[in-house]
Symmetry: C2
Subunit: 368 residues, 2 copies
């Protein structure tokens, strides 16, 4: 694995050098993880002029399955001193003779940035922008295979829930049970707080579980994901509780399903992100659901649950092969509930069979 | 409740006005929650020259038990536009005729700060420092009562775990079971990721649960907490698995217990934070455990799990009455394990009975 991290750091170094910085300071945890193999709590990565160093705080605890790249020097700040690894890294960069340090201005706070400037006054602080985030967009097959396993785990957890009795149980208990099942099946943990929404809550994006109990006739929408070796995935499904869905439920479900399918089918290398969004959105739009739609119909996913690219009306850029994204349109009718259908897929060329669906739980409307 | 939030905002306004700023922008979520009664995802609070406004993003989901102060105007940004509530708030501040806006430089990133400056060029951006964090240090009885309930919930969850069979179960499963029990007993959720550490892991501060199984003869250390109405608490205990602890286990336990008691007993209004730290630390120091001690032996707790004050050798400042803190010394022997004992207490004058212990689970060394 070490060559993978070294190659990623080389790409970033080339980018920085082209921008006139001999050194870069990476502080955003997912970016540190991507370049160093592990992101102990609070650690930063110095891409130095003469040497790369992972600078860790005194209580640099990390998930047990993460190991820093062995080719990397690891420096741990002494316990009693406290101190900010980013500040220590700036000092090291200056000591290596760099005159400019590119930093993540979208992650460093104003106060930390100022502390960097104070400790290393001879260093010009430049902006690294979202360079590491951009490197992270296209995944290698090793990364995708972690996401595939995570998706299998989420599918399993969801499948088991559907076999249990649901009526009378609260949203919060169902969410906790799903999270326990994720871990039972080998996940590092949930990829994000599991959302279970019943009745009038169903279909609300990002709904946080409440003490409402599942009732006959409810829509039930569930959104969950597993983290596996740091990589995340996301699946959302909506069900009906009881023997048979009502007509309005079938209609709404079919509509959201059609929108989600349109989004999925437009996932081809070279497609504009906004066109994927439009494909899904216009199905809902043309049925009169223009209000209350979410700003995104999908987004990239990987070491974080919400990455570039964004699938939205204002999104710039095109999709590449090997970019995992979610497609997750939905409709929520205030007071009545709604439907959300969410998959994680990997963009693949048509010659390779088109988009690879990672989350394979059925999207038929099940009555439970 | 509305008067409470209004009074808090008034105190902050007076502080800002004294510093020469007519307006303040509060962006750190726990600070928004403290002043506005709720912190919907991404929301910021403008303490304006003419009016206070809670500015929310389009997907401003919030825990169902939080309600924004009704005396506060709430402005929600339109969905499709996306946009940063902090930037919108700066625009509103300038529109109200403020010439200076105090912002949380320890929370705003460099990039967001720059965006604020661009949208409101006539506004001088000043620093609010940790003013809200300082207001939050001393709790009112309403806040303490939420913490007391949270501590009861954590005690219950821990007590139930101790009655179950532990040998053979993994750290991760025990941690998940504790978190489920917290929610069963009415917590909003865990106050922080539950730590369960067995055998050689026991006593490691901030240990993340692994797949290691509990074995006879292990030390087992557990650290958990409940969030109740937004307020957090923390309890840590160490047990021995099997019929009787070994001599070295009893010795180490007694030592850490003595250190923790010394820390607790020094919690009086007016005590210097560093003296509380020293009281606990010197018990371990004088027994020869100088290496590997954590930077803190305790910290404030409230809307966040780790607040001011810090109990550390370099800490400035004194304790006031009605300040909840943890006291949590520990020793970890690499390869063998260790002991950590952690309580949440409220500083009270001696006339009121001295420090109020919120987490009441026994600190006898139990063999389970």
């Amino acid at each position: 694995m070490s060559e993978v991290y070294a190659a990623r750091r080389t790409r970033l170094r080339e980018y920085c050098n082209a921008g006139g910085s001999a050194a870069a300071l990476v502080s955003r945890p997912a970016n540190v993880r991507y370049l160093a193999g592990a992101a102990p709590h609070g650690a930063v990565l110095l891409l130095g002029k003469t040497e790369d160093i992972l600078v860790c705080g005194p209580s640099a605890d990390r998930p047990s399955q993460e190991r820093p790249d062995e080719a990397l020097r690891v420096q741990t700040l002494p316990g009693a001193a406290g101190g900010d690894p980013a500040v220590a890294a700036a000092d090291l960069a200056q000591g290596q003779g760099a005159d400019s340090l590119a930093v993540e201005e979208h992650h460093l706070t104003v106060a930390r940035h100022r502390a960097l400037g104070s400790v290393a006054p001879r260093l010009r602080l430049a902006g690294l922008g979202g360079a590491v985030e951009q490197l992270r967009v296209v995944k290698d097959e090793e990364e995708i295979s972690c996401m595939r396993i995570g998706a299998e785990i989420a599918d399993q957890a969801l499948g088991e829930l559907l076999e249990s009795i649901l009526v009378g149980r609260t949203e919060r208990h169902l969410a906790l049970e799903l999270e326990r099942r994720l871990v039972d099946h080998g996940a590092d943990g949930p990829a994000f707080p599991t959302s279970v929404a019943t009745g009038p809550n169903a279909g609300r994006p990002g709904h946080r579980p409440t003490d409402r109990r599942v009732e006959e006739g409810d829509f039930l929408s569930v959104c969950l994901g597993a983290t596996y070796r740091g990589y995340r995935c996301e699946i959302g499904r909506t069900f009906v509780i009881g023997t048979a869905p009502a007509d309005w439920q079938i209609e709404l479900y079919d509509l959201v399903f059609a929108a989600q399918r349109a989004g999925r089918e437009s996932l081809v290398p070279g497609a504009a992100c906004r066109d994927v969004d439009r494909a899904a959105r216009q199905v809902l739009d043309s049925a009169g659901y223009t209000e209350g739609l979410t700003a995104l119909t999908g987004h990239g996913v990987g070491l974080e649950i919400d990455e570039d690219p964004q699938l939205s009306p204002a999104a710039m850029g095109k999709l590449d092969a090997c970019v995992p994204v979610t497609v997750e349109p939905g409709v929520h009718l205030p007071g009545r509930g709604g439907v959300r259908i969410d998959d994680t897929l990997v963009v693949r060329p048509e010659a390779d069979g088109g988009p690879e669906l990672l989350t394979i739980t059925t999207k038929e409307l099940l009555a439970l």
